[in-house]
Each structure stands twice: as C-alpha cells, then as structure tokens.
Symmetry: C2
Subunit: 325 residues, 2 copies
C-alpha cells in the first residue's frame, strides 16, 4: 500500500544544551519517510541542491523508500535550518533558515506516484499542497500538516485545503493560532468544522489529542529519559501514524482502487477508506507516538537506524500496559 509524502529535505544544524551537530540529515519528508518505512513502502517527493550528499539518498533507499521523486536542482543548494533548543528541550529558536531550492520548489509527482492511495502533505505552502493534491488522482486518505507562517500569511488558501483533506496534523501553538482559542479541546473541535474528518493536535512531550467525528481523546507521549534531539518528532509521529494506516488497509484487503474517469479527482477526496475505523486510527496514533519517541532519542535518524519493527512492538506492549488499569 504505497504512501506518498511531499515535503522538505534538509541539512540541519542542531544545538542542544549539551551538544551541537552540523549539517545533519533532516527535513519533514525525511523524518516522515523513515518513520513510515517501518510499516509500509514510501514514495518521497522533495527537492535538494547539488550539495546533497548521495549517501543520504542511499540511506533512504536502503529502507525501501522510493526516491525517484527527489529532484536535484542544478546549481541549487539544499534547504538548511539551524536551530537551538532551550534547556527544557521543548522550546526552540530558529537561528538561521536558508530556503535555497525550496524557495522555487513546485512539487511534481512522478507519474507512478499518482496512484498513491495515501498522501501526506508535510508542512509547506497551501498553494503547493493544493497543487500536489491536484496531481494525486487516487488519494483516498490525505493528511496535511501546516505551520504558523502559513496560518498567518495564507489563511484563505489553507481554508480551501482543509475542505479537501481527510486529516490535519498540527501542533498546539498552531491550533491555538488557527482558531484563536487557548483551550485545545475547543480548538480541535473548531478545526473539525473547517473541513477535515479528523484532527490531531501534537503536544510534543505531552502527547497528542485526537478529534474525530464521534470522539475526542488524548494519548500521552511515551516517557523516555533519553531526549537527545526533538527535531523531527512531529514528522516521525505523522510517518508512524500514516505508515500504520497504510499497512492496516493492506492487511485488511481494503486497498482502495483508483477509479479514473469522469468523476475526477475532486470527488474522491474524502472518500475515507472504511478500513480506517476508529480502533485502527487510535492504534495508528499510538504507533506514531512510539515511533516519535525513538526519534527524539538521537540526532537526525541516528536512533531510528538502530531499531527495527520488533523494538517498536516491544515499546507498544509497554505502552498498552502503561495505559491499562
């Protein structure tokens, strides 16, 4: 069950209270893809510059991630981000941001990607998110992320996007900004009214709140003492979540079939696969939570590279036990 992601690929420089790493592999599409690859096959679309180290591509490919959508822009430089975490490892400050090739990046999905049933639009301009959606005729489950910059500067287009996606994943500050409501339960419900069939508000070390048509619930983060670098936790969460959803649909044999024809893509958005029942969705949230809990235990993909699916399952057993009484 292929899962497509369109997002950023970056060279990050990360400063934590105890350590600094320069030019390490990062970006929303990278974290998402790697996290999802524990569950399903992934197809990545993003842009990099000529400075892009080929070993990063090899690493992704070694996980079965299809990188044929990774465009190397001639004469371009890869997107770079430098951030510094405060003492509590929750708040961070962006010290430098060089958009480079991202400035003019118009996502173009390779022909074979357009059959993807599951699509994740990592945070980016709603214009590009909408254009990507238009290329993806078969997407049956579309989830998007967004961020404060676009909530402020492109609210109208974001509203258009929200009517065309199934799920929105965003963090607590973004949810408050989008709704002008400080209470996250009310904020989530208000976002539901903007269009999506479900909303997930990520709260970092405090877990996530899920809002569906019939239920609202909170799942806590897995309590890890080894928080090394929180970068990419949110995208890993989304990757684990959507990866599991794609896997579950494949297992249940409810792979949505792409119906080309006069109906057009627009009719298909939101035709939520019936396999994605509330129980599967909750499991997916839990898998997202646990995948992210590994990501933060190392810089870049360091910790994820050390684990396999078995370790995620073992942590899942602990997590289930933790929440049952």
């Amino acid at each position: 069950m292929p899962l497509c992601v369109v997002g950023s690929v970056a060279l990050d420089s990360v400063e934590t209270p105890t350590e600094t790493r320069e030019n390490i592999l990062g970006g929303s599409a990278v974290y998402f893809s790697y996290a999802a690859s524990f569950f399903t096959s992934v197809r990545l679309t993003a842009a990099v510059g000529e400075d892009w180290p080929p070993e990063h591509t090899e690493l992704l490919e070694s996980r079965g991630i299809d990188t044929s959508g990774l465009q190397v822009v001639e004469g371009g430089k890869t997107f770079r981000w430098r951030g510094k975490y405060k003492k509590d490892m929750n708040d961070r400050e962006t010290l430098d941001l060089q958009l480079n090739v991202l400035a003019d990046f118009e996502p173009v999905l390779p022909e074979e990607y357009r059959q993807c049933s599951f699509l994740f639009l990592a945070n980016g301009s709603p214009i590009h998110q909408l254009k990507t959606l238009d290329q993806c005729e078969c997407a049956k489950l579309v989830v998007a992320d967004t961020m404060d910059f676009y909530i402020r500067s492109e609210r109208e287009r974001l509203m258009t996007l929200l009517k065309r996606i199934d799920g929105l994943v965003l963090n607590d500050g973004e949810a408050r900004l989008l709704t002008d409501d400080e209470n996250l339960v009310r904020a989530g419900r208000a976002i539901m009214k903007m269009g999506p069939k479900f909303v997930v508000i990520k709260k970092g070390e405090h877990g996530a709140i899920f809002f569906g048509e019939d239920e609202t619930y909170v799942l806590p983060a897995f309590p890890t003492p080894d928080v090394v670098d929180p970068t990419g936790a949110g995208d890993s969460f989304a990757g684990g979540m959507m990866g599991y959803l794609a896997e579950a649909a494949a297992k249940k044999g409810t792979v949505p079939v792409c119906r080309d024809g006069p109906e057009g893509a627009a009719h298909k958005w939101g035709s939520f696969p019936s396999s994605l029942d509330p129980k599967t969705l909750k499991e997916a949230l839990a898998y997202g939570t646990l995948t992210a809990s590994f990501t933060v235990e190392g810089f870049s993909l360091d910790r994820l590279q050390e684990i396999d699916r078995n370790q995620i399952e073992r942590r899942m057993d602990e997590y289930r036990k933790m929440l049952s009484f």
Copy 2:
C-alpha cells in the same frame, strides 16, 4: 478508613481572562478534603481567622468532612491569596498573598485524628510537615506535597521529610527545581532515590507521571473544553487519589491496625499497606485525574458541588475507553 489532611484553608480572589471572583473558598486542605469526600471520610486540620464565614465550615461538614481540627485563631485573619491566570489558563501569577493566621500556624491534630491510617501533608513548611508526622502514630500511608519556596529555602528539612513519607506529589516545575534536571522522567527517578516509595509529577492540563519501584507511566488529563478556573486542581487530584486508596483499603479489608508500643511511630512510616498494589495505585491516579477535571470546570468548589460519585464513575468509563485500543 479515615484520611487526615493538614494544609491551608483560604479565601481566594481569582482573576481569569474572562471573569474575576473575590474571596471565594479555597486552600489546599479544602480542595483535598472535598475531592476525597467522594470516596472516604476525611478529617481536616487547618487554621482560619475570625473572618471565616461559618457557612464554609457547614459546606465541608455537609460532605461528612470532620472539621474538629479546624482551629479558629482569635483575633486572626484567614489566609488570603489573589492570583491571575494568563490567557492559556496554565500559567498564573500571584498578585497578593497574606499569610495571616498561617504565619504562626503549628498544626495540632485532635486526639482522635492520631489514629488516621492515611495522611496527606499538603504543601507547607517541611518543619510543620515533620511535626505533623510525629503526631500521627498510626499513619500507614503518608503522602506529601511541596512547593518551590520550600525546595529553595528548606531543602535539608525537605530531604528529611522525603525519607519518612511513602509518596510525594509535586508539579513539573517543582520536580525540575528539586533535581536540577529538565527531563521529567529522569527527575522523577532522581526523587525516588531521595526516599519516597512513589512519586507523582503533576503536569496540569497534560496529566501526571507516576514513578514506582518497578514502573513509570503517564496518565493524560481528561480533555475538558470547560476550563473555568484551574485553582485547586493539584489538591483535588491528590484528594481523589488518596480518597480512592483509603476506600480501596477499606473494601479489601486490609485496614492497617494501629500498633502502639515501644516500636514507636518511626518504625511504622513506610509500612506500605500491601493492599496498595500497583493496579490500585494506578486506578487511584486515574480517580485523582478525573476529580481534578471536574474542579477546573468551575470556580472554587462550584463544579464539585454539582456532581456526585456517579458522574465521576461515568467519566471514568469514558476515560478507560479513551485509553484503550
């Protein structure tokens, strides 16, 4: 199974972004007692001044709370606190604090209270907490709270206290301050090494982390859209938790018997009732969480006065459902 609490009784003035209330019933012992009264009988020890409205005492007594330990100080004024909540209702600022009778309050437990098997030492000076403990010869389960002021100014006495109690309940900022560690999982484990058999770190709207000898887990707060006034949530949490523990011990017929004699009280601290198995403790944490979720839905005890045990149980059903997948 009587549960004793020693703490503050206050007249609070609370400013929220939308509403202000003057001189309403508050204080750690009040919130704790009322919350615990849904589960067990409670005996309160605190001091008030001559300005204390007798109807507040009547309200507590109407819940079966024994107020014979409520000392009215002649010529004294009741402790007053004025606080203002910020927009997100998490952070608050103390605008005014008048200790009044609390300044010289030396808790003296009435004779019949000294048989209490369960004792909660609400946040206060470790000197007074230790003196109270010395009076309570039969306490089998002693839980204490503390706060930043005492962590800074009376650390040594606090360390003595920590060796004599079974459980410590404190908030995230206090745990960080006590251990000088920003990671709450590491902080909780470090506090365990200071003496208590269990530690609960309260995270406000984000729930609580439990640390026991063999396990660490997180329970999220119940997601309520109706946060009116968070004052007293932490004490209500402790009240619901200890009230349930006392009830569970009574139901199981494992009421600890007070053994007077040459062993002295010191030997009995920490003789953790065997009825308090990990499962019961986790249930107690959940009841604390839910009792607190009602407290924040109104000013003072307003919301708690509207509910009965059935409503707590209904919310528990929802909570269990929310956490199972």
